[in-house]
């Protein structure tokens, strides 16, 4: 009983990943979309962080010039 259930789950899982024979087109699309979203998030964070560092440096230089 358990073996049959596992086999059917395995078969349906295989069917899901096969995407009706279009797996080599469908999965790269979703993978690339994930990559683009991740890149956007990472680069925006990095851009903001770099701007904060630059602004802090400018403030520190201005403060040292005043003193």
């Amino acid at each position: 009983m358990t073996g049959t259930l596992l086999l059917s789950m395995g078969a349906s899982s295989m069917g899901f990943w096969a995407m009706g024979g279009y797996a080599r087109f469908v999965w790269p699309c979703f993978a690339f979309a994930g990559l683009v979203l991740a890149w956007n998030w990472w680069s925006a964070r990095r851009y903001h962080a770099a701007a904060r560092v630059r602004a802090a440096r400018t403030l520190a230089m201005a403060a040292s010039e005043q003193s």
Binding site: F16, M19, G20, G21, Y22, F25, V26, P28, C29, F30, F32, A33, V36, L37, W39, N40, W41, S43, A44, R45, Y47, H48, A50, A51, R52, R54, A55, A56, T58, L59, A62
Partner: protein, 243 residues
Amino acid sequence: MWTWFYRLASPPYVYGVAARLAPWFLGFAAVTIGYGLVAGLVFAPPDYQQGDAFRIIYVHAPSAWMSLFSYTTMAIAGAIALIWRIKMGHAVAAASAPIGASFTLLALVTGSLWGRPMWGTYWAWDPRLTSELILLFLYAGMMSLRSAFEDPARGDRAAALLGIVGLVNVPIIHYSVVWWNSLHQGATVAKLGKPAMPGSMLWPLLSMLLGFMLFYGAVLCMRLQGEVLNRERQAKWIREAIG
């Protein structure tokens, strides 16, 4: 009535609003994209003609919509900056460009991967595909133009002008499938009265579209904070903003 509009000219206000909105946008984007992915990949039935290949629509259509939305936002922000001399408009336009360019690239790549099994080719010089490729070049041109000038203000103005001129490409992309004979399929959701999809396929698509818009909002807010800091480095309020 115009108070809110003029408040957008204030860099500390824009920085504060962007900082508060970004995490909310990101959180809701994760939920809607998560639902769209599960419903679109697992629960939506295969298309009767395209089979499971139609599922590419769940990343292709939202990215194509966002490529146009981002460009329109950028052009309007540039126009506001030119007409009312609101510097934050240039900051929004500069923040929007790389995000829009990445969505355009995503739309082109996923469209190409969809085209191979459906049309038998990765690429055709079709009106929709060609005008979308021109949009990618416009994004690249705007980003290059902005950084090509020694005086950042001149770069901003030149990029805003190019953005406004390039806006003519947006309706061309949208209506290309109506105006010309195109390999590309017609609108799926634009016909609001009668969408060409059943609900089980449509809801995940709308959820992905909302998710991509919210994600765009989150990343725009994060980039905008960086833009404002870069442009207002000398201002006194920056000390309080960055702690």
